[in-house]
């Protein structure tokens, strides 16, 4: 055990200085225990202070890191490209759907317009036919009405 040799000489010095506090009756056993404790801590501390220290070498695996870097860059590039293409495809699809919707809307409006024109024409014809009876036909119309009574 290192540091023990130094203790042999130190012991007398420490034992001589093992003066405990005034007012505390100290028996020999306690004094001896405290002296041993003190010397034990001193020995431990001396040994710990003089222990050889080893510095761990940090080995950097540069090539491995480089490969990981490239792989990461490739993944990011592929991800970015595929993301961009997907986005473009989605945009085209949205535009196509919007164009189709616009066309359908226009066609519907045209059909409604045509239907409205036809209805107006029929209404006008009906009105012309039913309301404007020629004067020459008026007596005949009255007769029809009386006969019905």
């Amino acid at each position: 055990m290192s540091g023990m040799e130094r203790l042999a000489g130190k012991r007398e010095e420490v034992e001589g200085a093992a003066e405990l506090d005034a007012g505390e009756p100290v028996d020999a056993a306690l004094e001896e225990a405290l002296t041993n404790f003190r010397m034990s801590v001193h020995a431990w501390s001396d040994a710990a202070l003089s222990r050889p220290r080893t510095a761990a070498q940090v080995v950097r695996h540069r090539s491995w890191r480089l490969a990981v870097g490239w792989a990461l860059a490739a993944v990011l590039m592929v991800g970015g490209l595929s993301g961009g293409m997907f986005e473009r495809h989605q945009r085209i699809e949205r535009e196509r759907i919007a164009a189709a919707a616009r066309l359908a809307e226009q066609q519907k409006a045209i059909r409604e317009q045509q239907a409205m024109d036809e209805n107006d024409l029929l209404a006008a014809v009906d009105s012309d036919v039913s309301r404007e009876v020629p004067n020459a036909m008026e007596p005949l119309a009255q007769l029809g009405a009386e006969g019905a009574k």
Binding site: E24, L30, N36, F37, V41
Partner: protein, 180 residues
Amino acid sequence: MATAGEFSAEEFTCVVERHRPQIFRFLLASTRDVDLAETLTQECFLKAHRNWGRFRGDSSAMTWLMRIAINLQKDHWRNRRMQFWRHTQSNSVDLDEASEWLPSGESSAEKQLLAREQVQRVWESVKGLSERQRTVFLLRYVEERELSEIAQATGLSEGTVKAHLSRALGRVRAELGGKR
């Protein structure tokens, strides 16, 4: 010609060389962890270096350094309590291992065994002491500091130091007597 800063650095280097073993020993006895004691010793001298200009010399450099070491140790235990759920592992060596360091010299095997048992019992008593009692006990019986120095280093009155020592000694005595 050396400037004031250079002179101060030289002076500080001497202080470190002279007092490092004591500071380390006190921290080692307080923590029972060699690595932690080394780290705290480094921190102690780093702090001392930063504040070296403010050291007025009211007390001895040793007492001043010991005061810094005590505060660092207190902070460490406080942080440990805060971090209990995050990190519960301790690197402190167990009492058996701490008691392995024995005075040998001319002692017989029987005496060594007895000494080892005594040292282990004192370690057990120290483990059971409160933080303040332990600090005072170690400064008195390991570092052999005077009561006035302990009072300065801990910031306690001499009466309080005596009271803590008396209680600590009572525990050690009980441990030694009870298991004899």
